[in-house]
Assembly symmetry: C2
Homo-oligomer: 313 residues x 2
């Protein structure tokens, strides 16, 4: 099996798109047409919600798969429906992989080493049960939180290395107050720069044939002034960039995330694609009954905007 | 419903114990006697593991409930078995609450505000599905990661306030390299001290009748020199202290976590209680067939050690 970064780049080239579609189900925004069948199954409420989410996700994946190669389910929106939600997460990952999409589990886990190992095995590794081996979630990559330090990240990095998976480590997040701790000056450098400087160290043994590492970084697009600095500190790291669309960042804000080869960044949008029917201009043009057309046009538009700025070769 | 800190203190007083038993299932260490019935149910492998874990947890809870009032399932060890594992987590929480134990979900979640809200609602809040309300996990408190800043914590704090639940925010973790980022000097103070100084601000609206806040802190017992400083910075915060037993900290190391009233700290042990049969002196005395006696003696011994140092009134 190939290095994760090489697989990622191959997918980006095939689809000619650095877009990641965030599969963040908001149950109230899911069209009723996806909820009809689950409702008749007459299961409990959490199961009904989970079936509705899964049905919506499958339809979204069918719409977007011709245009993008990467999806990112945010596990919080599945955990919200208990173990039934986690079932929907698992089945969503499975369906996306059947459609040959790369799946990044946005889980932001982080814990002491023995616990981190359990998370790593759950999401990108294996678990032994008596004499059998299972891969519970089997995502291609996950996001992780570095607050606990290098020893808490090594189980993730080692599991990624063993199984040809990827890790995106939080460096600078996209929320308005991310600077409160992440921008604190420790000596002459900000905390997030100190973490960024570790990324090449953590990632050096997982560099693929294209020169990029399977250990990437999460960098919010809402702080463009930081992006150029971080690009220089971590030249071989793939950036996973949230914040496009609903969180307010534009394509132009992201130009500096890309290396001169047009690679090095993947850009996530969630609500602005999934619920495009609820946003102008599609709201007026289509509305919820034609939500699929709205989603299709939104993803094509996003691809076009990013093509202009990435200059991918 | 009472403030979480008041409920916590009432439980500690009834049981005369500040101990938290960490329900961290290691499948290979679970006695075979707990796996027999699940095996005959002939479900898939992850379901078999989940049923075995739940059976073990129920028996552990029955043994420890006379001696301790608080349990802390670490969700990573359930996630390891996929959605079936999360089912076992849910059922474990339910059983512990039936036995009137306080349940702290050790989930260490942290994310941007809209996502943090989903996590908060999942674990200590509610979710609306069409016209019904569900509480998916319904734990009494959870642990959270502060790396993303105040805006990422507010959904947890607000949900805790609304539902009379508790939050333990990571301040200084127990792993060997926790100091790598948490001890960085930002001006004259360490990062974890800066976070600790926020705890009274975040917790001020959730102070109970006993003077403690429902917003507590996770502080590793493996760094006793830091504990006294942190105790002074956060006098009204309950400390959740991991590291006793398997991670190497002793009762004496924890004396400075307690306030003069003998309150202010709860001490977690996981492996040293659950798998006491596998440790000296119980390994030689009992072995796995009498694992329940080993666990019972281990919890009584831990209670006695902590009684000497907490000086609870």
């Amino acid at each position: 099996m190939e290095n994760f970064a090489d697989r990622l780049i191959a997918t980006i080239r095939v689809k000619n798109s650095p877009v990641v579609v965030g599969l963040d189900p908001y149950f109230t925004l899911i069209p009723d047409s996806c909820k009809q069948k689950p409702l008749t199954l007459n299961k409990d409420n959490l199961a009904y919600a989970a079936y509705g989410i899964l049905e919506f996700n499958r339809q979204v994946i069918d719409i977007i798969a011709p245009f993008v190669g990467i999806v990112k389910p945010q596990i919080a929106f599945y955990e919200l429906y208990g173990y039934w939600g986690i079932w929907a997460y698992t089945e969503t990952v499975k369906y996306a992989k059947q459609k040959e999409l790369i799946v990044i589990g946005d889980i932001k886990r982080g814990d002491v080493p023995s616990t981190a190992e359990a998370y790593a095995n759950a999401h990108i590794g294996e678990v032994q049960i008596d004499n059998v081996i299972e891969s519970p979630f089997s995502t291609d990559a996950i996001t992780v939180n570095p607050f606990l330090g290098t020893d808490s990240l090594l189980p993730f990095i080692q599991t990624a290395k063993k199984n040809h998976k990827g890790i995106f480590i939080l460096v600078k997040t996209s929320n308005p107050l991310s600077g409160e701790f992440q921008d604190l000056l420790c000596g002459k450098r900000k905390l997030h720069e100190i973490i960024a400087e570790k990324i090449p160290v953590w990632g050096k043994e997982l560099i693929g044939k294209q020169g990029y590492s399977a250990i990437g970084a999460v960098v919010g697009a809402t702080f463009p002034q930081e992006l150029s600095i971080l690009r220089k500190i971590m030249p071989a790291a793939y950036f996973l960039i949230p914040g496009y669309g609903a969180q307010g960042a534009t394509a132009k804000d992201m130009k500096c995330c890309f290396n001169p080869d047009g690679l090095g960044a993947i850009i996530n949008a969630s609500r602005s694609i999934l619920y495009a029917y609820n946003l102008s201009p599609w709201k007026e043009k289509y509305g919820v009954s034609a939500w699929k057309e709205a989603t299709r046009e939104a993803i094509i538009k996003m691809n076009r905007e990013l093509e202009e700025i990435s200059g991918m070769t």
